[in-house]
């Protein structure tokens, strides 16, 4: 017998989940909570549950935060995040905060049952749509290889002219920019390469072979 706690502020959703699980006799809905406070009361009262279906949009607390609190209280209970949104940033945060899986709320019956079973077996479950998002994010991660910052086209041009010994003002004239803009680009580059003056910047970029 697997005991469930459903946390969702929408009574209809709780109802829907009950409907989906009515034929699975080994799954028992032990309790349902409509707010984070109710949920914490239930858990603090010592009502034992095996798996928590947690909606991350609750009226009284951010679901991500609640997930973290529950995980602090109880290391073994399984937590399956439920949300209506499918954004990679949210999914990764949820897993970081200790959830064992993530389901989109418009799941079908089979998916819910699969998810519960998988999570109870100790694996992480991500809904199919969520999986795609995560893979997308991994594929296009902004950070370039070797952690060498990417230079914008304007930055490269300014760097080139700096290396020829031109001042900000001269560069501004050459590129038809205001010297204020040139200087902002320069400052941005100093920060990117974590150096404090133009000379050190030139040394670093030469070392990295960015300019000759």
């Amino acid at each position: 017998m697997i005991k469930l706690l459903i946390i969702d502020d929408h009574p209809l959703v709780i109802d829907g989940i009950k409907t989906m699980l009515k034929d699975e006799s080994y799954l028992h809905i032990e309790a349902a909570a409509k707010t984070a406070k109710e949920a914490l009361n239930i858990l603090e009262a010592g009502i034992a549950v095996d798996i928590i279906l947690l909606d991350i949009n609750l009226p009284d607390m951010d679901g991500l935060r609640l997930c973290e609190i529950i995980r602090d209280m109880n290391k073994t209970v399984k937590i399956l995040g439920l949300t209506y949104v499918n954004e990679a940033g949210i999914i990764t945060q949820l897993i970081k905060k200790g959830a064992n899986g993530y389901l989109l709320k418009n799941m079908e019956r089979e998916e819910l049952i699969t998810a519960i079973n998988q999570v109870m077996d100790g694996t992480i479950y991500l809904s199919k749509a969520a999986n795609e998002k995560i893979i997308q994010q991994l594929q296009s991660l902004g950070l370039p290889q070797n952690n060498v910052p990417v230079l914008t086209r304007r930055e490269k041009e300014i760097l080139q002219l700096l290396s020829e010994g031109l001042t900000s003002q001269e560069i501004a004239g050459r590129l038809f920019l205001s010297s204020y803009t040139v200087d902002t680009h320069r400052k941005n580059m100093l920060q990117k390469f974590n150096v404090h003056n133009t000379q050190s910047l030139m040394n670093v970029v030469r070392e990295l072979g960015i300019i000759a």
Binding site: T19, M20, G89, N106
Partner: protein, 668 residues
């Protein structure tokens, strides 16, 4: 006493902008002496002595008759040019410049002050260079460019300090105090004013003491510290009764009027405002007169003396308009709307209320623009300047902007409330599911567009703020309300398969399931565009990463995100604003640039934040783009304004476009 001695024993005139008049160490010349100088002028030869004479006359006339002063100044300037007298060119250009300021012609004032500044720099007359800064501060102040004013005055004050010239630095500090008063930093102004008063009282210059007392009294009254103001006011009035300086007298009587107005003694207030008007009329300073007329009109209105109130308020309105005194126009419009309301002429009342609102917007917009131009000038002209001072000023400016914004919020809320009710009704009707969800977003966009246009009169800033709050709310309602129902429908529906064997084979079952899925996806998209959940819950960078991923996964445009110094989250309103700006700029790239790659880069160092968005697309002519500004770019601009930032678009045909936005954050 020869003419030469006369010139050396007195300070050359330095005009104080609130009063328009010079402050000198010695008292003004009596009328008889003025007349004799004027006679001397008729006989004088065309040489540098005549230039000096014209300068003296111009300075002296500046106390009593501005048009006369300008006439002498211009005459002296022309003569100096004719005889090639370099110092004279500088001095008389300066005198012409300050006369034009007093007469409200800032463009001409600016050209003359530039000439003067250049001459003084060539001749290396440092004291006069700082006087030009002081005059520029005066001009900025009158045009409502308080940030530029503060900057110029600080330069003047510091310069005079460096020259150990207490008398002049006092004037510059006094002016700075007035600027502080304008940006409603009265406590700071009072603090500085008390210090300056101590220094002034150590000297013997009654005018100097008078001006200091006048500023201090006004600031105290503005801060509501009436008891504290009282002893200063008494001293001030003693000076005002005796002085020949019409401007000081007018301002002092006006301060007394304000004191009695605020302490509910309308009879005395009327008396003093009338006296301030009579002195200001002698001086013929129409800019200040508008303020005085308004004050009197307001007091009369308070006493229900309707004909008098109307007369003065209308006079004030007319002068304020003619002499470009925006603040007076703005205040007077409000008083006039009250007047017409009380006399039962509601349409005219509403007309003036609208004028009042329109001015509020233009004053606010002008301030935002001024601030941006100030940032640029400041950067170029004075890189070495002390960072702390700059940050302090920015802080004050933000406080100022926030105060302004708050007043506007009230007006924004009314319109937004209407918007909320429309959306609420729509949302209740969710039977139309997907179609409705789409319509809702279209309608919201439409509604926002319409309101944005209507609100060109009203404030853009409160609008943006309200928009985001509303978007957040709607997105949340969509998720929690409609989203929950969709999910439940799907849950029940998928359980049907289990309960009713064979239903899966029914094509209608499959079709309906697909439709439910579509509707649900559509709703999610709408809500996401409305306000990405990740932006609220996790942060700007993660939401931008999502944005970049979503676009890159389409394979047409590869978007790279780079961020430096962004470990800490920003204020959530700033994050939303930046997200919207980036979203719009990236959308522009997708729609118009035909680019294959784009970079979003954010650099934060302390409170400096720089945003760079670059593509390798077809580029465009920035001047052309300026002319046919797209709606999208206009929103970007207004959002950048909202953040007090500076937007630079740098585009080259067939190479690409670099958009850069710089701003100073108001957080720790």
């Amino acid at each position: 006493m020869s003419l030469k001695e006369k010139l050396t024993c007195r300070y050359p005139a330095l005009f104080l902008f609130i009063s328009l008049l010079a402050i000198k160490a010695v008292s003004q010349l009596p009328q008889a002496q003025m007349d004799s100088l004027a006679r001397e002028l008729v006989k004088a030869k065309e040489d540098s002595n005549k230039v000096q004479l014209l300068m003296t006359l111009g300075n002296e006339a500046g106390y009593t008759d501005l048009n006369k002063a300008l006439e002498y100044a211009l005459q002296g300037y022309e003569l100096s040019k004719k005889i090639g007298y370099q110092k004279g060119i500088g001095n008389l250009a300066y005198l012409s410049g300050i006369s034009y300021i007093d007469l409200g012609n800032y463009a001409l004032a600016d050209s003359f002050l530039s000439i003067a500044g250049q001459k003084f720099t060539e001749l290396n007359i440092r004291r006069n260079i700082f006087k030009v800064y002081n005059a520029r501060g005066n001009s900025d102040y009158r045009q409502g460019k308080y940030w530029n004013a503060a900057d110029n005055l600080t330069k003047a004050a510091e310069g005079f300090d460096e020259l150990k010239d207490t008398a002049y630095s006092l004037i510059a500090y006094q002016n700075l105090i007035s600027v502080l008063g304008q940006i409603n930093n009265h406590p700071k102004a009072v603090e500085l004013g008390k210090k300056v008063l101590k220094i002034a009282e150590a000297g013997t210059d009654t005018l100097q003491i008078g001006y200091t007392l006048q500023a201090l009294t006004s600031d105290l009254i503005h801060s509501g510290r009436y008891d504290e103001a009282w002893p200063y006011l008494q001293k001030l009035l003693t000076i005002a009764e005796k002085t020949l300086d019409n401007s000081l007298a007018a301002e002092s009587f006006s301060a007394a009027g304000a004191y009695y107005y605020k302490t509910n003694d309308p009879v005395k207030a009327t008396y003093y405002f009338q006296r301030s008007i009579s002195r200001a009329e002698k001086l013929d300073d129409k800019y200040q007169l508008a303020n005085h007329y308004h004050s009197l009109g307001q007091v009369l209105l308070q006493q229900k003396k309707m004909p008098g109130a109307k007369e003065y308020l209308l006079k004030a309105m007319q002068l304020a308009g003619e002499f470009n005194n925006k603040k007076a126009e703005y205040n007077t419009a409000l008083s006039l709307s009250e007047y017409y309301e009380q006399t039962g002429d509601y349409p005219t009342g509403i007309k003036f209320l609208k004028t009042h609102l329109a001015l509020k917007d233009s004053i606010l917009n002008a301030e935002t623009r001024n601030y941006s131009s100030y940032l640029e000038t400041r950067y170029q002209t004075n890189k070495k300047e002390n960072e702390i001072l700059r940050l302090q000023k920015i802080q004050q400016q933000k406080d100022f902007a926030i105060k302004r914004r708050n007043t506007w919020l009230g007006i924004g809320i009314g319109l937004i409330a209407a918007l909320i009710s429309i959306l609420y009704l729509l949302k209740r009707n969710y039977g139309h599911k997907q179609k409705l969800a789409r319509q809702q977003s279209v309608l919201l966009e439409e509604k926002i567009k319409t309101i944005e246009k209507e609100q060109q009169i009203s404030s853009l800033q409160s609008m943006i703020n309200g928009q985001e709050t509303e978007r957040t709310r709607i997105a949340k309602d969509l998720h929690d309300g409609l989203g929950g129902i969709f999910s439940t429908v799907k849950m029940h529906y998928s359980t049907l398969q289990q309960d009713t064997p064979g239903i899966k084979e029914n094509p209608l079952y499959k079709k309906t399931l697909d439709l439910i899925n579509n509707a649900s996806d559509e709703l999610r998209k709408v809500a996401h565009n409305m306000m990405p959940e990740v932006l609220m819950k996790v942060g700007l960078l993660e939401s931008l990463q999502d944005l970049a991923n979503n676009i890159s996964s389409g394979k047409l445009l590869k978007v790279t995100l780079q961020a430096f110094g962004m470990e800490k989250r920003l204020a959530s309103s700033t994050e939303i604003m930046l997200y919207r700006i980036i979203q719009e700029l990236v959308n522009n790239i997708i729609k118009h640039a035909y680019a294959s790659e784009a970079i979003i880069q954010i650099n934060r160092e302390g409170n400096r934040l720089s945003l760079t968005i670059e593509d390798n697309g077809k580029g465009f002519d920035t001047r052309e783009a300026e002319e046919r500004r797209s709606m999208g770019m206009a929103t970007v601009r207004s959002r950048v304004d909202y953040l007090n930032g500076k937007l630079t678009i740098d585009s080259r045909k067939d190479i690409g476009t670099t958009v850069m936005i710089d701003l100073l954050l108001n957080e720790n």
